[in-house]
Every structure is written in C-alpha cells, then in structure tokens.
C-alpha cells in the first residue's frame, strides 16, 4: 500500500468538496443577512460546524480510550489519537474564526466570554493529550496513559465549562450565535455546512488514522528486522566460536 486513500475516502473526499462548495454558495450568496448581526452572521456557517466536528473528534477520542483500556485494541488507540488531532485542528480553527467574529460583534478580538475561555482551556488540554501520545515511553505504556487522560478529559471539559460559566455569570453579556433569529434558508445553510464539515472531518480522520496505522506497521517491522539481525549476529558468533 503506497497511499492512504481508498474507494471510500475517494467518495467521501468528493462529497466533502461538493458539499463545501454548495455550502459556500448558500452561506455567502443565497442566505439572507441576519436582522441584528447583518452579514457577520455568515461566520456562523463556519463556526458552528467546526466546533461540532471538534466535539465529535473528542467524543471519538473518549470512546476509543474506553475501548482501548478494555481490550488493548491498537485500532481504537490509533483512532483515539487521530480523532484528537482532528479535534485540536478544528478547535484552533474555531478559536480563530470566533476571534474574527468577535471583532464585529463585541468590538474586540478577545472577550472573557465563558464559551471562548473554556474552549481555549480545552484546546490546551488536548494539546497536552497529544503531547502524551508523543512521550518517549514504551508503546503500550504510552497508549494506556493517553487512554486514561482521553477519558478524564471529558470530565475536565465539564468542570472547566461550568466554573467559567459561573465565574462570568454575574456580568454576562450576549454570547455568539445563541439568541439569533434564523429563518428556513439560514437553517438549511447551517445544516448543509454541518454536513460538509462532517464529510471533511471524516475524510481527514480516515487518512490520519491510516497514516498512524502505517507508522505503527513500520515501527513493528523495524523492530522485527532489528531482532532478526541480532539473532543473526548471535548465530554467527556461536558459529565462529565453534570453528576456532
């Protein structure tokens, strides 16, 4: 196998391109501006799907971690890692688009809004998870520790979110996207963009997973070859000893 693509990823990839292109059309051209936010509402079609995909990624990481701890399945371990990477990528995207959206809505790029603050902490938390996956430890040890953290991370998310909410609760302004009025066409555009980003996320996830799978294969092959070489050396040595 020289590529990480297959018939399935080919289809998903094209579906992603078509859906993204049509959601671009709906988000930027066909859907109307919002009453109070005006054209800046169009960022919603980018913002909400990306956060949805990143939450989905963290959900897969959680699921994969639970299954890995139960049966040490390499598949679920690698899938958990790949999903966390996609999650982090999309969270970074969410933070950037949120910040850009904040400028016209709040007047600043950063506001100590509970959602934004909690999302930023979450982002760093999952960077930590990815760092664990790169630690210089034996493979199983590293995978097991990562799985434990992949599970606890969900509880952390809830605590961080709740405490930050409470912290800002006393003097809380309007948050993005919640109390806006969306008509039918806007809802459809939103739905379309969620579908498009789900395809994109799935496509990225499958490829990332396959790269991780191949890496693991190479690692195992290297180990096997090194073992064989050592065995060969050991064989030569005993042979040489017998001759002399």
């Amino acid at each position: 196998m020289t590529s990480t693509s297959s018939k399935a990823t080919y289809v998903i990839g094209w579906a992603a391109i078509v859906a993204l292109a049509s959601s671009l059309l709906f988000a930027l051209v066909l859907s109307p501006p919002e009453v109070s936010m005006g054209d800046s509402v169009r960022l919603l079609y980018l913002h909400l799907p990306t956060i949805a995909v990143s939450y989905l990624g963290y959900g897969i990481t959680f699921l994969g971690s639970v299954i890995y701890l139960r049966n040490q399945s390499v598949f679920w371990d690698l899938l958990a890692g790949a999903a966390a990477e996609i999650g982090v990528l999309f969270t970074a995207f969410v933070l950037i688009t949120g910040s850009i959206w904040g400028k016209p809505t709040w007047g600043t790029y950063w506001e100590w809004d509970p959602r934004l603050t909690a999302t930023t902490v979450m982002f760093i938390m999952y960077l930590g998870y990815l760092a664990i996956r790169r630690m210089d430890l034996p493979q199983e040890v590293r995978s097991r520790r990562a799985a434990v953290i992949g599970i606890i991370a969900i509880a952390n998310l809830i605590i961080v979110r709740y405490s930050v909410q409470w912290w800002r609760g006393l003097h809380q302004g309007q948050t993005l996207g919640v109390d806006t009025q969306l008509d039918g066409l806007m809802l459809f555009s939103l739905f379309l963009s969620v579908v498009a980003f789900l395809f994109l996320g799935a496509w990225l996830l499958i490829h990332r997973f396959r790269v991780a799978w191949l890496e693991r294969q190479v690692e195992d092959m290297r180990l096997a070859r090194a073992l064989n070489e050592r065995r060969g050396e050991a064989g030569d040595a005993t042979l040489g000893g017998a001759v002399s």
Partner: protein, 230 residues
C-alpha cells in the same frame, strides 16, 4: 489501602525531611515569585472604587494562588522524580502496594508540604501586598480544599508524565489547564475571605471541595492503569 497510603506518605515526607528540597528550594522560589509580582505590578497603583486599595492588594488573592500553583508544579515533579530512578515504581508494585494507596499517599505527602508552604507564602502575601482580612475561617477552609484539589489532580497528571526520559516540561502543560478551575474558585473564595462579602465565597469553596473529591476518586481508579508498565 490506607496502610499503603500511610507508608507512601511517610516515606515521601522522610525523603523531604532528609533532602529539604521543598523547604530549601521550592519555598524560596515561591517567595521570589511573590516579590517578582510586586515588581511587575507597581505598588503605587490604586484601584478606583475599592477604598483606595492598591492594585497589588486587590490582585493579592489571584497572585497568591498563581504562586501556589507554580510551587505545586515543582513539588509534584519532585514527587515523581524520586520514583523514576532505579525502577522505583516497579519496585513499589512488586512490593504489593495498592495503586490507590500509592496515589493517596503521594497526594497526601505533596498536600502536607504545600500546606506548610502556604502558611509561609500566605503570611508573605499579607505582608508584601497588604490586603485586609475579613474571615480567617473561610480562608483556611479554602486553602485546605484548594490544596487537596491541586494535589489530587496534579498527582494523576504528574504520574502520567513520569518516566526516566520524560517529565519536566510535561507536568506544567498537563496540570495547569486542569487546575484552572481551582485557580478560579480559590481566587474568588479568597477574595471573599479577605475583602468580603462572604456568601459567594462559601459556594466557591464548595466547588473546590467537589473538585477535590472528584479527583480523589479519579486518581484512585486511574492509578492502576497509569502505573502499569508494558
């Protein structure tokens, strides 16, 4: 389990007593951080509408807890640095110690050291930053609960980051985002304890208690898989 915890805690405290790393290095570091905050935030700046308090006094609760968090990173790193040499963790497991007991013991040892540290740093913060004091009881409760939360969560993550060739840079990255809610709640509760009014302070203290309990449970469950090698 509790017997194992007691064994671990007393072992770690004896190591501290013999080496004085906490008292000789972490405590001076904490004091230094308190002074550096004073240099960074001019003591002459006053906050409007706060009875003429200085900015430093107004920010004192948050600065104190940042200092404690930084010191706790060193204490947590130290707690596992002493185990990673010579396969100590393996030896502990071979000795048949309960992982939950090891977790409780190590957290307790760090918690006791941190509490001792905070007595000195707290006095230092009062002297250096000059905030008032409204309720000593709330302050003590907050200090104890926040310390338990920091050490319980911190011990889990420091264990994950432990190993001969890793640690150091991993512990801060893993621990700080997780204890961010502790910083938040402890700062808010401490603000209530020093400036008043008190009612919100007790609810923040409750949050600290819940956090500590939750992480004590998580640590007791998770320590088995974390410590298992290969």
């Amino acid at each position: 389990m509790f017997r194992d915890a007691w064994l671990m805690a007393s072992k770690d405290l004896r190591i501290e007593w013999a080496t004085r790393v906490g008292m000789g290095q972490i405590l001076p570091f904490g004091g230094l951080v308190l002074i550096l905050f004073g240099l960074a935030i001019s003591p002459d700046l006053a906050v409007a509408g706060s009875d003429g308090r200085s900015l430093l006094a107004q920010a004192a609760p948050g600065l104190f807890w940042i200092t404690v968090l930084l010191a706790s990173l060193l204490a947590l790193g130290r707690s596992f640095a002493v185990e990673s040499a010579d396969g100590n963790l393996d030896a502990l497991k071979m000795a048949g110690l309960d992982p939950a007991g090891i977790f409780l013991g190590k957290s307790a040892a760090v918690a006791i050291q941190l509490l001792a540290l905070q007595v000195v740093l707290g006095l230092g913060a009062f002297v250096l930053y000059g905030p008032p004091l409204t309720d000593l009881v709330l302050l003590l409760v907050v200090v104890i609960l926040a310390t338990l939360g920091i050490t319980a969560a911190g011990t889990v993550y420091a264990a994950v980051a432990s190993g001969l060739r890793v640690r150091d840079t991993m512990v801060p990255l893993l621990v700080l985002p997780v204890v961010a809610p502790v910083l938040l709640a402890a700062t808010k509760a401490t603000e209530a304890a020093v400036f008043g009014p008190l009612e919100n302070g007790w609810s923040w203290a409750m949050l600290l208690g819940v956090f500590a309990l939750l992480y004590a449970g998580v640590g007791m469950l998770a320590f088995g898989p974390i410590m298992e090698e290969s």
